[in-house]
């Protein structure tokens, strides 16, 4: 099992109604900032479409393909469609790329050309006498005079007798050969990933190729691909639906409480039926609470742009400032001890650890004033880069630490299992470590995002509280991380277990306080940002 899968497992937690882990004691509480939602399977999503299509079919007395095209055009808003259709059926149909009701070809098979009849004897072609006109403007009038037909795409000539089998036109009358239609439609589906909006081949013609016709034209595999794309389009066109972004999961989340206009005050985190969390607002494949979607997007772009600068920061090694030997970070804890000279320091700020354990702890805060003073002589851009790097470094560090915590736990787990087997511990006694690691990882992810938030947060009298909450959680997490890295020995295990359990409960409490206050802060409009949200 990869550590990524492991990390995903750790994301199951209580905010929703899907918690089934027997080790979790707390009943789910729905908070003001949470959203209600449903998890739908792929077949339920297909049923949703079928139902909507069947309903329109009955109400407007149309065939299924036509009803489907209308619904897709109106973004699956049945009421709006019915209203517009009753108002002006022709307009509704034409706008959606369909034949108006008066057109004789609207409800008949497009395979039959309006004028050519199979009883007409094939004539010698006259098209060779036609004066060549640019293909863009060439009219398809050749069809109405019963003569052979030259496909304007491939320039192959078809005798009149084969028109009904070898060529076809949609309701708009633009005729092309069947082979060109097939190549065109297959390319649209397989190369361009188009489905609901495949239009007539004629330049500027918006007539839609119906699903029933596509099924006649393409091979079964492409047809299946087409159906799949239609489902995808249905979900992306429906504002209240979103695919679960986790690999291999085909579920869809339905949520009506998180429209885009609400995303400046809520972070609609949901848990899919597959057990993984996602953000309904932006589709991020994990919780990014407490940061707003827009800020996450800005942050990711910034990190990508500055990745060259940032890469070296993510490196897993640093040099001891006392003896210059290379130190590798192998656990999630920021409390580092140089193996060679025993110098204890903080991984994040490289400052002496002795200053971190006590009340004086400055590792979460970038003191803008003193920082600016110190960098007085340097260019302003350098200062802003350093400010960014300060937050990025902490952001990236928590991500790295969460991964390392998970790896580290695997070793602990083995050791504990051994102790369990040798009879020193019961199964239930072994579980506390797993729970504590879950808590640490979850808190680190929240802390990680809190640094993204802090980067964009404008300083006002409310931000102090945010930074205090962040610092308290950070300190609690580092302490717990440190405890988790202690080697469990049979004679000290009960003390360690008590310490870890207590510290874990404290981390949980600090975590909930930070989350609660920050998310409520959006609703109460307490936060101001340096960018437009």
């Amino acid at each position: 099992m990869s550590s990524d899968e492991d990390a995903n497992d750790y994301f199951e937690y209580e905010d929703d109604g899907f918690e089934d882990d027997e080790m979790d004691q707390e009943a789910p509480v729905k908070k003001d900032y949470d959203v209600a939602y449903n998890v739908k399977t792929l077949s339920q999503v297909i049923d949703m479409q079928k139902k909507a299509i069947a309903n329109i079919q009955t109400v407007l007395e149309l065939d299924a393909s036509t009803a489907a095209i209308l619904l897709r055009h109106f973004g699956w808003n049945s009421e709006k469609l019915q209203e517009q259709f009753f108002n002006d059926p022709s307009k509704a149909l034409t706008d959606a790329g369909l034949s108006p009701p008066s057109s004789p070809s609207a409800h008949t098979s497009p395979l039959l050309p309006p004028t050519a009849s199979s009883s007409t004897p094939p004539r010698i072609t006259r098209s060779s006498k036609r004066v060549a006109t640019p293909a863009t403007t060439r009219s398809r009038s050749a069809v109405s005079i019963q003569t052979s037909f030259e496909c304007p795409v491939c320039c192959i000539e078809y005798p009149a007798a084969s028109l009904s089998t070898k060529t076809l036109a949609l309701g708009c009358g633009h005729r092309f050969c069947r082979d060109c239609w097939v190549e065109y439609v297959v390319g649209k589906i397989r190369t361009d990933g188009e489905s609901a909006k495949i239009q007539c081949m004629e330049n500027g013609c918006h007539r839609i190729v119906k699903g029933s016709l596509i099924d006649q034209l393409v091979d079964p595999d492409t047809s299946q691909r087409y159906r799949k794309l239609l489902n995808e389009a249905f979900v992306s066109d429906t504002a209240t639906l979103r695919w679960c972004p986790h690999p291999g999961c085909e579920n869809v989340i339905e949520c009506s409480q998180a429209p885009p206009r609400m995303l400046n005050q809520i972070v609609p985190t949901v848990t899919c039926g597959c057990g993984n969390e996602l953000c309904f607002g932006c589709g991020f494949a994990a919780s990014h609470r407490p940061v707003l979607c827009k800020l996450v997007k800005l942050w990711q772009k910034k990190c990508a742009d500055d990745s060259e600068t940032a890469n070296w920061l993510q490196a897993n090694t640093k040099e001891c400032i006392k003896c210059q030997s290379t130190i590798e970070k192998n656990g999630g804890c920021n409390h580092m001890t140089c193996k060679k000279c025993k110098w204890e320091f903080c991984w994040v700020c490289m400052g002496p650890w002795s200053e971190h354990g006590t009340a004086w702890y400055q590792c979460n805060r970038y003191d803008e004033k003193s920082g600016m003073d110190a960098r007085d002589s340097q260019a302003k851009s350098r200062a802003s880069l350093e400010r960014y790097l300060h937050y990025f470094n902490r952001w990236a560090n928590h991500e790295l630490s969460a991964k390392l915590d998970a790896d580290f736990y695997k070793n602990t787990e083995k050791k504990m299992e051994a102790m369990q087997q040798s009879g020193n511990l019961s199964w239930i006694e072994v579980q506390f470590a797993k729970q504590a690691v879950d808590t640490v990882i979850r808190a680190r992810i929240t802390l990680k995002w809190s640094y993204c938030m802090a980067f964009y947060l404008k300083r006002n009298n409310q931000t102090e509280l945010f930074e205090d909450n962040q610092r308290d959680l950070e300190r609690a997490v580092e302490n717990l991380g440190y405890l988790l890295e202690q080697n469990p020995e049979p004679d000290s295990i009960s003390k360690l277990r008590a310490d870890i359990t207590n510290q874990s409960a404290y981390v949980q409490k600090r975590h909930d306080i930070l989350m609660d206050d920050t998310l409520k802060g959006y609703l109460e409009r307490r936060w101001e940002f340096s960018v437009d949200i």
């Binding site: 060549a132 640019p134 293909a135 863009t136 060439r138 304007p152 795409v153 491939c154 320039c155 192959i156 092309f176 060109c180 190549e183 065109y184 390319g187 190369t191 081949m201 004629e202 330049n203 500027g204 013609c205 997007k297 800005l298 772009k301």
Partner: protein, 155 residues
């Protein structure tokens, strides 16, 4: 040997150009094979910001033509330079909707030239697209591999 669809179609287009000629300001410079054609394009009249300039437009046809649109770029060599235009990158790549989502298989090499010519004719200010340098630095050789979208500088 059966003629491929793209060759058959291009031969027909070539024949039409030979019999009917090209619109003013458009001239077929090279069509030695059914793969690469080069047209010279200039904007006529006094109203244009490109007065007196001539550009070379290269069309590269693939077997999927005309169901699929050709690769279209402005030449950038000792003799010709791409026009300074908000939809033309300095490497000759062009951001135009008919060379993408608005392509129709009934359009021809000549209709591409006409569209590009009118795109130049409507230009009021000579400038490169925003993000030109960044695009050109990482652009693929084939402009069809670029997913054209409007520049978003808000992020």
């Amino acid at each position: 040997m059966v003629l491929s669809i793209s060759s058959r179609r291009l031969m027909k287009e070539l024949k039409e150009i030979e019999t009917k000629g090209t619109p003013p300001g458009i001239q077929l410079l090279k069509a030695d094979d059914m793969e690469t054609w080069i047209f010279l394009i200039s904007v006529l009249g006094d109203e244009t910001v490109y007065k007196g300039e001539t550009f070379a437009l290269k069309l590269k046809f693939e077997p999927g033509y005309p169901i699929d649109y050709p690769q279209v770029t402005f030449l950038s060599d000792d003799q010709y330079q791409p026009p300074l235009h908000p939809h033309v990158y300095s490497n000759g790549h062009i951001c135009a909707s008919i060379l993408g989502s608005e392509w129709s298989p009934v359009l021809t090499a000549l209709s591409i030239c006409i569209t590009i010519q009118s795109m130049l004719a409507s230009c009021k200010k000579k400038e490169r697209p925003p993000g030109n340098d960044r695009y050109v630095r990482s652009a693929p050789l084939n402009p069809k591999l670029t997913r054209w979208a409007y520049e978003d500088d808000t992020v």
